[in-house]
């Protein structure tokens, strides 16, 4: 059985982000709503950490975004975020020419509490993350 572990419904939280606009907070990236988004407010890299309610196994990361050029994904298994393992090295995403990017990354995260997305570069100076889905299951 596979759930979107990142969703707020399932206890996902977006606690850490390197940009914060009151109108477009990080929570918008995990609310399951494509119409809302978290926006970066300038400079790269930008980071977003999604914290899961329990140690989980994540197999896929689905990302809907606008303007991201290079991204990497990292995972932390401990409850207190510490060292991250890179589960997706810096990867370039094709420019959607300002339109929606929809990416699915197959990753291997066996026991993860925190998932960090690092946006290294954008096709524009400001990029948006509309939705992040972490497909996986909670570990008992």
């Amino acid at each position: 059985m596979s759930d979107n572990l990142a969703s707020a419904e399932n206890g996902g939280q977006a606690l850490i982000a390197t940009s914060w606009d009151q109108a477009h907070p990080p929570e918008h990236a995990i609310d399951g709503d494509d119409a809302t988004f978290w926006v970066t407010t300038g400079m790269f890299p930008q980071e977003l950490v999604v914290t899961l309610p329990a140690s989980s196994a994540v197999a896929r990361v689905m990302l809907r975004s606008v303007g991201i050029r290079r991204i990497s994904i990292h995972a932390c298994p401990t409850e207190q975020p510490g060292a991250y393992d890179t589960v997706l090295p810096e990867t370039e995403i094709a420019d959607g020419a300002g339109s929606r990017q929809s990416e699915v990354f197959t990753v291997k995260m066996e026991a993860v509490r925190h998932v960090k997305l690092v946006i290294h570069a954008g096709w524009d100076h400001f990029v948006a993350v509309n939705d992040i889905r972490l497909d996986g299951r909670k570990l008992d």
Binding site: Q22, H24, V39, T41, S99, F126
Partner: protein, 194 residues
């Protein structure tokens, strides 16, 4: 309580060695308190950050934090400079009005940075004619400087780091342009998802 919006922008300052890039940057950073009396050649890059408030139409406050990379003009560091330029959003070109060569080299600088970040993708660009206090020895006229700026769609400023005049204007221009670009981008992003 409305939190002030905080935008950020990477600004690169370019120009020949000795035109006063560091003087301009440091005067900006220190609000005119730190004119380098003794010339110190920049080795590699000087970096500083300073928030600049932006006038916004509505009541919300906005600040643009400018992360300024003042790269060395010495050819000795020419190899390293492009690395510092990566991810820059705005450009400030500086020349010395008493040295025609420094003005003529601006095109060269543009050429170089464009190889890292296309100038046309940048948020904003400025041309600063420095050492305006030495106008009687000027080799480059204001008109020539303006014409150059116009050719690239840049703003033109005259400044005197020594007299601390015209220093803040290019940075304020960069900050305002950043805010405008952000507003523009937000509109596009909102449009993209709806």
């Amino acid at each position: 309580m409305v939190s002030a919006l905080k935008l950020r922008s990477k600004v690169v300052v370019l120009g020949d060695s000795g035109v006063g890039k560091s003087a301009v940057t440091q005067m900006f950073h220190s609000n005119g308190q730190k004119f380098p009396k003794n010339y110190l050649m920049t080795i590699g890059v000087d970096f500083c950050m300073k928030p600049v408030p932006v006038q916004v139409a509505d009541e919300s406050r906005a600040t643009v934090e400018l992360f300024v990379f003042d790269t060395a003009g010495q050819d000795l560091f020419a190899e390293m400079a492009p690395h510092y330029w990566e991810g820059s959003a705005s450009l400030i070109l500086v020349y010395d009005i008493t040295r025609a060569e420094s003005f003529h080299n601006l095109a060269e600088w543009l050429e170089r940075i464009s190889r890292v970040v296309p100038v046309e993708s940048m948020v904003s660009g400025c041309v600063v004619a420095n050492k305006a206090d030495l106008r009687e020895r000027a080799e480059i006229s204001r008109e020539a400087g303006e014409a150059f700026a116009q050719r690239y769609g840049f703003a033109f400023f005259e400044a005197s780091a020594l007299e601390h005049s015209g220093i803040d204007a290019p940075f304020a221009h960069v900050a305002a342009a950043t805010h405008a670009r952000y507003t523009d981008s937000l509109a596009k992003l909102t449009a993209a998802v709806s």
